[in-house]
Symmetry: C2
Subunit: 753 residues, 2 copies
Amino acid sequence: MNRVCNQLALKSIGIVALCAFAVCGPTAFAGEPESPIGFSEDAGQQQLALEDDYKSRLNAKDLDQWMQELARHPHHAGSPHSRANVEMLVKLFREWGYTTEVASYEVLLPKPIDRIVELIEPEYYSAGLQEDIVEGDESSSQRADVLPPFNAFSIDGDVTAELVYVNYGIPEDYELLERYGIDVKGKIAIARYGKSWRGIKPKLAAEHGAIGALIYSDPADDGYAAGDVYPEGPFKNDSGVQRGSVVDMPTYPGDVLTPGRGATKNAKRLKRKDAVTITRIPVLPISYRDALPLLGALGGEVVPAEWRGALPITYHMGPGPAKVRLKASFEWEMITIENVIARMQGTTYPDQWIIRGNHHDGWNHGAGDPISGLVAMMAEAKAIGELAAEGKPPMRSIVFAAWDAEEPGLIGSTEWVEDNATVLKDKAVAYLNTDGSGRGFVFMGGSHTLEHLFNQVARTVIDPQTSVSVSDRYRASVNVNGTQAQKNELKASKDLRISPLGSGSDYTPFLQHLGIASGNIAFGGESGHGSYHTLYDTYEHFSRFRDPGMAYGVALADVTGRVTLRLANAAVLPFRFTNLADNLKTYVEEIENLADTQRSDAVSDAKLKKDKAFDLALDPTRPLTAPQNLTAVPYFNFAPLKNAIVRLETAASDLDEKLADVAQDGEASEALNRKLYLSERQLTSPAGLPQREWYRHQVYAPGFYTGYGVKTLPRVREAIEAKDYAGVDDQIQITAQVLEAFADYLNGISRSD
Amino acid sequence: MNRVCNQLALKSIGIVALCAFAVCGPTAFAGEPESPIGFSEDAGQQQLALEDDYKSRLNAKDLDQWMQELARHPHHAGSPHSRANVEMLVKLFREWGYTTEVASYEVLLPKPIDRIVELIEPEYYSAGLQEDIVEGDESSSQRADVLPPFNAFSIDGDVTAELVYVNYGIPEDYELLERYGIDVKGKIAIARYGKSWRGIKPKLAAEHGAIGALIYSDPADDGYAAGDVYPEGPFKNDSGVQRGSVVDMPTYPGDVLTPGRGATKNAKRLKRKDAVTITRIPVLPISYRDALPLLGALGGEVVPAEWRGALPITYHMGPGPAKVRLKASFEWEMITIENVIARMQGTTYPDQWIIRGNHHDGWNHGAGDPISGLVAMMAEAKAIGELAAEGKPPMRSIVFAAWDAEEPGLIGSTEWVEDNATVLKDKAVAYLNTDGSGRGFVFMGGSHTLEHLFNQVARTVIDPQTSVSVSDRYRASVNVNGTQAQKNELKASKDLRISPLGSGSDYTPFLQHLGIASGNIAFGGESGHGSYHTLYDTYEHFSRFRDPGMAYGVALADVTGRVTLRLANAAVLPFRFTNLADNLKTYVEEIENLADTQRSDAVSDAKLKKDKAFDLALDPTRPLTAPQNLTAVPYFNFAPLKNAIVRLETAASDLDEKLADVAQDGEASEALNRKLYLSERQLTSPAGLPQREWYRHQVYAPGFYTGYGVKTLPRVREAIEAKDYAGVDDQIQITAQVLEAFADYLNGISRSD
């Protein structure tokens, strides 16, 4: 379900930096390929030769054929074609020389029974809730096994109430509604997709007292306003609906009944009523065709400019006179999900595992999401298998995983990780994820200890459309389309920053539950979007609009394969800690600025209120009033965090120097490498984060009220954002202790032999 | 036709400062009213009492009744109801004690005969080009004497060609079209209203080789996206069309056949073919209902996000496959226009004239534009007449003028000014203009020498909806909605800046042709717009949506009446030169920044081109290319301007001090006051501006490529904007000489007795 990157990127290339590289540096080499981190000079040259060999084995036709087969029919978790795909994957991985197993779990999955959305007043309209068959896309005419538009893990419900338009349904929208005197209590909220992960919308609506929620795709965001609609172009036609999970993933992902445990046959299970991640109100997604009569029937205040979509109406907030009935009911089935796990034993360090994953389930045909990433991973597995067969096996073990049931809530990966937590904590060196991908620019996210590795690879891989590296192409896009701040950063002589990971794909359990250094890589920004989670995410759509000829599928395999092979073969594992320290420093600065901004805004608003400036500036004939409930923002003691960063910078620098020396010697102890990859574990705490103990990482977390969007140093940042000011100093203290301990840990490695 | 202020203001209160006060200071007094500039302490108190008396005579019911009568029928120049209105005005002014005459001119005015817009390919559509009758607006059902939608001073033409969408049709849009490889040569351009004065659109289209132009109102700008449409709300319904002149007003306004001369019966006239201000290509305005099939039939590239409107289509640039026929033909009639001129002799200085004007012609019913401003002026004239009759006549002469034929091109005022240039240059102290007005915030523009006077009055007049001054209400809106820069300026302890004047209403000939200090005042920002120049600018619309109860009409008369009376009665004319010097200093800074920005952008773009960054960043499957024709921007010698400003600051400060002393004595010589009001003349040059000698003012001009939008220090600013870099230093020199001479002039006054 990974989508954040492409979505942001496509809106404006200028924004991609939020999602991938936030900073860029000049090309670190000209002509000569730079020596890979973790290798001696000689070994590095051999590695580069191996990678060129690897690259020559990637074949776009393979990807194309696999996609045609895997995306031939709907293949959501539990579907017949999903099982066929699992068999195909098992067969292929075995052919390619992997020890392959199917790791199955029993999980609760809702299947829609009734879906009704009706406008009851002021006139009747019954929403079609179905996508059109379109010319030229044979797949769209298939109806067997197709999942109709629904939001997984909505509760059952049948509610009728007045409608309120809540824009994107994120916290700031409710603050504005309050200023208008509009309450969603007892009402049905209609929110548009975008700005937050979809599950946040019913969560916030319920917290504000709504009894039901609708989510629709506004044509402003990925419909006709954005570009030509399917089948003329890639964007959403008026029948297209984005499906998707609304499970409360920021609390915990995976099977709703077995938080923290693998959902094995006999696992201890919650009762469904006790599963807190299921929504509290019924919710359904609808097309803009179905949203038009509903929104058009709203009265009340005209929305502010930022709330306008692209439907040909005047947008009003309501509540009413539009009255809507929303019924959603589900068969709450226990189904078996199947992860495909394929292992290749490392020749030197079999107990150090490089894990490489991509999910295999889709909402329906899922050609883009997830098959475009899966076929790149398959190409990688095939080539690595060939290399091994020809006598060039990896030094460390490589584990390829094709996850099931990612779409409903990262279920396959989460259950496997929870089930195998002990061994993974011990053996997992790193986890590298892909998901849907397309044409354009490379987007790289992950643990900052992997930043230099990713950058070296991005400087090596050539973009299929131009003759430069994918790193240089990305840099050019920032230089042309970025903000001045981004351009200024580019001039600094360092690696491009990779984006920290929030959630939205299968890296979450690895990184945020167990503390395994993780990465997530995709291409995008030039593929039209709009097919995401609709009936139209088909081979026909993908091959016409998203990556014609699969050139970028090959580029993706080129990037991820080199990363995998370097992790597998480096004498010294290619972590670089100064990159982490440098990024952490910027996060602390960001958070301090956030507090300062909130403080000066609060001071300014309080003064304006005292001076009655709002009363004077706002139209007295309209209901919009001054901001309510202004809270003064105290000064916080950031010193512990800043002191920790200073120590960490030194510790990281010392260790990186030592590691460079060791790498030049060409050999490192298993123990040293073990300490290196266990370093990410030190950034976790067993108690987890406030309100959500499943999330243990103290540096990276999905936002409690953003969903996919990352919150770095989440204890501190979210306390400030949530205006829980009394708790901030404590959260700083706790986080600083984690970073201090981490610095100690690095110093410990530096001092060891 | 004054519209810029309200239009900008309504989009976002935050922007109003561009249009009115750009800077604000704290309230200059608390409790005690401040002493009016130009009066002694005692005389100031008497003046304030007189103004309170004046104010008590303003009556909303008068305004309402006059508007009902004046806007009862269409009253465009030459129409029967226009003549009836002239008679009514003459009768009333005479009743109120004014010596009243009708100043008539013979001018060329086109009347539409044929108007055809047809989509020929890929399917047929014939544009309706007519506005609907709407329920609840009796006026909209009148068809006698109604002017159908057209653009005055389009040439005749019948053209058929492929269509190209040019966004707003301003210079930067053509730069982008060039980067897409799209040429309008031989095509018909369709532009949306907005961003520039409408006449710029066919002018630029023709310069780029288009053979016809359509201008439509996109619903994003003042249709359903902005708010509820008429009759549910004030905004444009899908049949509404903005009429308006497209005469090349930035070259010269007024009668197209008599530039620089009054269009008296026997005046020497150009041949029509030699009138350069008539468009070079035919042009018609259309509704968004009529634009939809045309824009919907365009192919080619999808537009960038900034070019999107709110129609429910994917906007494409073309050219074609849409092929359009556009036919426009006109009866080119000589008609008689009638200005009403009403004079009240000043008791002490009869040869010093305060001129107060508002046009009386409308496109049709013209309730908002211009009657809302005219009835405020009438209330002012009536009250001042009463005061005079009761023994409180003005010391200086007051001339009220109701102009004809403003809409087609400021014709009535321009011809009168040209006809009476000699006497006006000698006797006119100042010109104060109003035009359409509404509910909300005060917008004040004008010569900066009047800035302090306007501010003092704005701090005196109480806003009808709140209990504070209109100045304080404006300040609150900047504090709540303004940019940080605007808020910072607010903190400085000085007058709010008033906006410099470009064009768009009848102040232009006074200020920019003759150098008479001028002002323009309106209220707005809380009146819904959309009726501007449509069939729906009716009493019904205005009284429901724009100023219910005429409270702001009275507030306008309160402001302008006090300004008029202070100008009429002050011992020392209330000019303050330090305000002018301070604003001029900021304009020089702005222009230097403009050059710096253009230079660094050019350097940056050149470097990006050299590095092939555009080639790498742009989608190679799409035609958008790097910017063409980059010109390096040299450094300019701004020293002459900056030295002139320094001298001017001292001269202004010295003179203001002297004037304050003289005012305290309570008496000033006629000669001193004459020198004061002749000061604005010193800012003009007989040679005018490059390419347009009619425009003589060297500080304020409408932009050659913006139309209404002001360009301060136009010689220098426009040379830089037009990339005519070779000429910039000369223009700096010429402008600096004007300012140096002006400083000398002020010093001369300071040194005189």
